[in-house]
Amino acid sequence: MVRRPRRRLLLCASRPSVSTLAELVQAWRDAGVEVEIDTFDAAMPDLAALVAEADSPFDAALLVGPSRRAPATVLPAPFATGLDGRRVPIAWLPARDPVSLRRFAATAARVHSRAGARSALALLGQWLPRYLHVTQRLCRLADDAGVRALRWTGDGMTRESMISALGCGVGLGLYVGHGRSMGWVGYHGVRAHHFPDDTVDRDDDGARASASLREPMGAILSLCCRTASRRRVALSYAEAVPLMGVAAASFGAVGDTLYSDNTRWAVGVCDALAAGASTVGELLSRAAPASPSALASYRLIGDPLAPLGCSEQALRRALRVKTYA
């Protein structure tokens, strides 16, 4: 019997943050991941360098540090290169406060623990012909690859109905359109505060308190400008998504992006899903385009090993979502 090699993850976190992430660390270990934890006090480590210099290669790394630091400066790209030449996804999470860190850890742990063999992709897009055309094309690519595509674009849904639909627990969402540091321009503007603050809620026994509670997504990719930028905001939209419990991971740009680069990413994502990528880190590693600007623009936020599968139940809920397009 061929055993799958154990995955290794490096978690670099400020000393006060480590205990708040215990639930996620346990979830990683339960999933067979070997977790190496490095704590720091004052000076934040260079995560890319740690990954590059590691004798035993890592499969992913996460840096949790002071929230005054921005994604653009703490990490150089979504990947580092290990000694073996492999691309290793590296992610960032700002440690704003213990409550949001625990919420993120609980969200990511929930995503790891739920059964998820089905592959589904929620296609989100601004109501402009160019982006609707892209989502139609991505629908076809996904269908050809045997991935269930759900077209939840701005021509068929309101902001509220789209946000409600994301609570079905689909594994992966992909947005195309214009973006800003505070959120998406599509759907007449989506901000972090539009998401309800009850994505993961448990009673004292840890059970889900209500059947109507939202399920978090595995990952949300914003293939647009600036959603991971700190321009004029204390916290970018891409950082808020995992901290609010909307998804275990998000992917966004730290500056302006090119339409051609975003299309390269989108095509690569569909191909990576078809090839069976099962986590956000694996997906992005496989999907990464050759364009240097496409790599340098983006950052991964949250859990780099966030699973992308969803349950049969989540898929059934998603298929019942009504659209008007």
Partner: protein, 106 residues
């Protein structure tokens, strides 16, 4: 030999010339719009009716196939299958006068 050059040579050696590969990718992008075959000099937009999204996707697929990166500034030159093949071959060829082949990358 760079990875890109190796991919291009491999494709040519296998008899699947680049032009055929590019046409195959275009037909998968627009199966309903394109004929079974067309001249290599037929222009993508004016003669074949492809739009900017089709071309961006073709370039993305070309980059995946060859390992090359096609800067946006070079895209206007890719007017047809023939022009695209010439472009890829020019990028994959070793520089004139080079005595030491570049190391394999990637």
């Amino acid at each position: 030999m760079t990875l890109a050059a190796a991919s291009v040579r491999e494709a040519d050696a296998a008899g699947d010339d680049l032009g055929t590969l590019i046409k195959r990718e275009l037909r998968s992008i627009q199966p309903d719009k394109l004929p079974a075959d067309w001249p290599g000099t037929a222009r993508f937009r004016e003669d074949l009716g492809l739009d900017s999204l089709d071309l961006v996707e073709m370039i993305a697929r070309l980059e995946q196939m060859t390992g090359l990166y096609v800067p946006d500034a070079d895209v206007p030159a890719l007017l047809s299958v023939a022009a695209t093949v010439n472009y890829v071959r020019s990028k994959a060829a070793p520089p004139a006068g080079a005595s030491v082949p570049p190391e394999i990358t990637g």
